[in-house]
C-alpha cells in the first residue's frame, strides 16, 4: 500500500530552500490525520550537510540522492531521480514547491508515473467529513480516508477550487513558496537517513548547460519579510516610494508594490506582491494607495495584520484590512515614520 507524506526538497547552490522546509511543516500537520511518516527527498551533489536541518524542521526520514548529475537543476536527471524514488518507496502523497524548479519537474514526474498533479495549491487537508469520504469513494478511491484534498486559486484568484486525485498514486501537488508555515526548529530532533542511488546514464543529461549564473543583484525575498509596507498607484509616481521607503525604514520593513507600479516602471519587479508576483504572509502588511484588485489580495490576504490607507472609501482593499484609514497617505505616512522613530527611541531609552 502506498505510504508516506513525501516532500521533494528544493536546493539551490547546495542550500535547502525555505519552501521545502515549509512543506515539511505542512506535512507534519497532515501527519496528525494520516499518521504516515514525513519523508523528505533531497537531490543534489555533496549536500549531506543539509540533512540535519531537514530533521530539525520535522522530517522523520530523509531520502538522499547524491550524484554529480544532480549538481545543477536539469529536468531529466531530476525527473528520473524522483521517479525512481516513487517506484522504490510508493508514496501516498508527494509535495513540491511551486517554484520555477518544482513547476518544471513535478509535471514531468506526474506524467511519467501516470498520476494527477494539482498546481500552485494554497491549502491541503485530508478528507474527513462524510461528504468528502463519500465523494472520494464514488470517484473510485479505494482508501478514501487516506485521500488528500487540495485547494488552489483559479481565474486570477476569483475562484477557489478543491481537487482530489482519487484513483492514482502518489497524490501530488505543488505549493507556492510562502504559503505554508515551517514548524519551530528543534535542533535535538533527528531521523532516519536513507541514501538512495540512481543509475544515471550519459543520455539522461539530454541538454547541455553552457553557463549557470546566480544573479549578483541581491534580490529581495519578500516572502521572508516579517513586515512589509507596500505602495500602489495611489502613491502618485516613482517618487511616492520615497515616503514608502521612509516608513519601511522606520519600521524595519521591506518595501512591496502592487502590479500597477511595477508595470509603470516605478519599482523593480521583485517587489511585486500578488497573483503574478509574490505570495506573502508577514506579521504586518501595510497597503498604501493600493486599491486591492483581487490579484493583489490573493498574494497578501493571509498576512497577520493588514493596515490599509486609501483616499477612496470604497476601495476593495478595505474588505480585507484589519484597520482601514480613509485618508491621504502623503499627509499620514511622513508623520507615521516620525511617530515610529520617536516610539522606538523612547523604548530604547527606557
Amino acid at each position: 500500500m502506498s505510504k508516506g507524506i513525501f516532500v521533494v526538497m528544493e536546493q539551490r547552490y547546495g542550500k535547502v530552500q525555505n519552501v521545502g522546509l515549509e512543506l515539511v511543516g505542512e506535512a507534519t500537520r497532515l501527519k496528525e490525520d494520516l499518521k504516515d511518516d514525513v519523508v523528505a527527498v533531497l537531490l543534489g551533489h555533496n549536500i549531506e550537510g543539509e540533512v540535519a536541518k531537514i530533521f530539525h524542521y520535522g522530517a522523520d526520514k530523509v531520502i538522499l540522492v547524491d550524484d554529480p548529475m544532480l549538481e545543477n537543476y536539469v529536468t531529466e536527471p531530476y525527473t528520473k531521480a524522483v521517479t525512481e524514488v516513487i517506484k522504490a518507496f510508493d508514496p501516498e502523497i508527494m509535495l513540491f514547491g511551486a517554484s520555477s524548479i518544482g513547476r518544471d519537474v513535478a509535471p514531468r514526474v506526474a506524467s511519467r508515473v501516470k498520476t494527477g498533479l494539482v498546481a500552485d495549491t494554497t491549502g491541503l487537508r485530508m478528507a474527513k467529513t462524510e461528504a468528502e469520504l463519500a465523494k472520494e469513494a464514488e470517484m473510485g478511491n479505494a482508501t478514501p480516508e487516506r485521500a488528500l484534498l487540495m485547494t488552489r486559486p483559479a481565474f486570477g484568484g476569483n475562484i477557489m477550487a478543491t481537487l482530489m486525485c482519487p484513483r492514482t498514486k502518489p497524490q501530488m501537488a505543488t505549493v507556492r513558496p510562502g504559503v505554508m508555515k515551517m514548524i519551530a526548529k528543534d535542533e535535538t530532533r533527528t531521523g532516519e537517513l536513507v541514501k538512495f542511488d540512481v543509475n544515471f546514464t550519459a543520455e539522461d543529461m539530454n541538454v547541455e548547460i553552457l553557463e549557470a549564473v546566480k544573479s549578483d543583484k541581491k534580490s529581495v525575498d519578500l516572502t521572508e519579510a516579517k513586515l512589509i509596507v507596500s505602495g500602489g498607484r495611489g502613491i502618485g509616481g516613482p517618487q511616492g516610494f520615497d515616503i514608502i521607503r521612509d516608513v519601511a525604514d522606520a519600521l524595519g520593513a521591506e518595501v512591496g508594490s502592487s502590479r500597477a507600479c511595477v508595470d509603470a516602471g516605478w519599482i523593480e519587479k521583485d517587489r511585486q506582491v500578488g497573483q503574478t508576483g509574490k505570495t506573502v504572509r508577514p506579521d504586518l502588511y501595510m497597503a498604501c494607495g493600493i486599491s486591492g484588485a483581487i490579484q493583489h489580495v490573493a498574494g497578501m490576504e493571509n498576512s497577520e495584520l493588514i493596515i490599509a490607507i486609501n483616499k477612496n472609501e470604497s476601495a476593495p482593499i478595505f474588505e480585507v484590512a484589519d484597520l482601514g484609514i480613509v485618508g491621504d497617505l502623503k499627509q499620514i505616512l511622513p508623520k507615521l515614520a516620525e511617530a515610529v522613530r520617536k516610539y522606538k527611541a523612547a523604548k530604547a531609552n527606557s
Binding site: 529536468t75 518544471d104 548547460i209 553552457l210 482601514g324 485618508g327 499620514i332
Partner: protein, 263 residues
C-alpha cells in the same frame, strides 16, 4: 524547420466578474484572448522562421469557438492551424490535455514545439512539460531569450528566481515561453484577410484515438477531479476609520502596531 506553437484561448481574466447572487463566474460578454505567454510563443516562432526558414503551425485544443484564436494566430503570420476538438476531450485536466495534444502533435509532426509557460485562467504551467514527457522530448521551460538557433539545436536563456542558465538543447525539443521572450506583433490587414481564406484543420477523437490512452482522457479519465469550487470567503470585517486628521490616523495606526507587538 517545422515549428509548432500550442496556444490556448482564455477569458481576459482581468475582466472576469463574479455574480454576487450565485457566486459563479460571469462569462457572458467576457472577451476571449490568446493566452499571453502563448502569444509570446507565436512571436518567437515567427522570428525563428524568419531566421531559419520553414513553417509555423499553430495548434489549440478547445471548443469550436477557439478557432477565433487560431485565426488571430494566422493573421499574425502563422502558416497553418489545427483545432483539436471533440466531446470526448471535454473536462480534461492537465494530464489528459497533454496526452491529447501530444497525440495531435504526433499527427502534425514537429521539429520544435513552443508553448506558453502557463495560461492565465488555470495558471498551472503543467501542460507544456507534460506534452514533452508524452513525446519523450527534452524541454526547457521559462525561456526568456533564444541566443542561437540552427536546424539541429537551439541555445536559450532559462530564467530562475535567483539567476539563469544558458542551455543548449537539440531538436526536436519543447520550449515554454515567458513574457520576456518576445513582444508579439500585431495582426496585419493582409494577414487578417488571408487568415479567413485559410482552412483550420480539425483533429477530433477519430483522428487521434490510435495515439491516445483512451482511459486517460476527458472528465472521466482525468486523474484529478474537482471536489468543489467556491468563491473566497471574505475575512471578517476590520475597522474602517474615516474623517480623521493625519495625527489621529497616525495615533490609530500606532495603537494597532503596539497592540499587535509590531513595534
Amino acid at each position: 524547420m517545422k515549428i509548432v506553437v500550442c496556444i490556448k484561448q482564455v477569458p481576459d481574466t482581468v475582466e472576469v466578474k463574479i455574480d454576487p447572487k450565485t457566486g459563479t463566474l460571469i462569462r457572458d460578454g467576457v472577451p476571449s484572448i490568446i493566452n499571453h505567454d502563448d502569444k509570446t510563443g507565436i512571436e518567437a516562432a515567427l522570428q525563428l522562421r524568419e531566421q531559419l526558414g520553414g513553417t509555423v503551425t499553430v495548434v489549440s485544443m478547445g471548443p469550436p469557438q477557439a478557432d477565433v484564436a487560431l485565426r488571430e494566430a494566422l493573421a499574425m503570420g502563422c502558416d497553418e492551424a489545427y483545432l483539436v476538438s471533440a466531446r470526448e476531450f471535454g473536462g480534461s485536466d492537465t494530464y489528459a490535455t497533454s496526452g491529447i495534444i501530444a497525440a495531435a502533435l504526433k499527427n502534425i509532426g514537429y521539429d520544435l514545439i513552443i508553448t506558453g509557460r502557463q495560461a492565465i485562467d488555470g495558471d498551472t504551467a503543467q501542460v507544456g512539460p507534460q506534452i514533452a514527457e508524452k513525446l519523450h522530448l527534452p524541454q526547457v521551460s521559462y525561456v526568456e531569450e533564444v541566443k542561437e538557433a540552427t536546424a539541429d539545436y537551439v541555445v536559450v536563456k532559462r530564467q530562475y528566481e535567483d539567476g539563469y542558465h544558458i542551455i543548449k538543447i537539440k531538436t526536436p525539443c519543447l520550449l515554454t515561453a515567458i513574457a520576456e521572450l518576445a513582444t508579439p506583433r500585431y495582426m496585419s490587414v493582409r494577414g487578417i484577410v488571408e487568415a479567413y481564406e485559410k482552412e483550420i484543420k480539425v483533429l477530433g477523437f477519430e483522428e487521434l484515438k490510435n495515439d491516445l490512452e483512451l482511459d486517460m482522457i476527458g472528465l472521466k479519465g482525468s486523474p484529478t477531479n474537482v471536489y468543489q469550487s467556491f468563491t473566497k470567503e471574505v475575512k471578517g470585517a476590520g475597522t474602517i476609520l474615516e474623517g480623521l486628521s493625519a495625527d489621529e490616523a497616525v495615533k490609530a495606526i500606532m495603537d494597532k502596531l503596539e497592540a499587535k507587538f509590531i513595534i
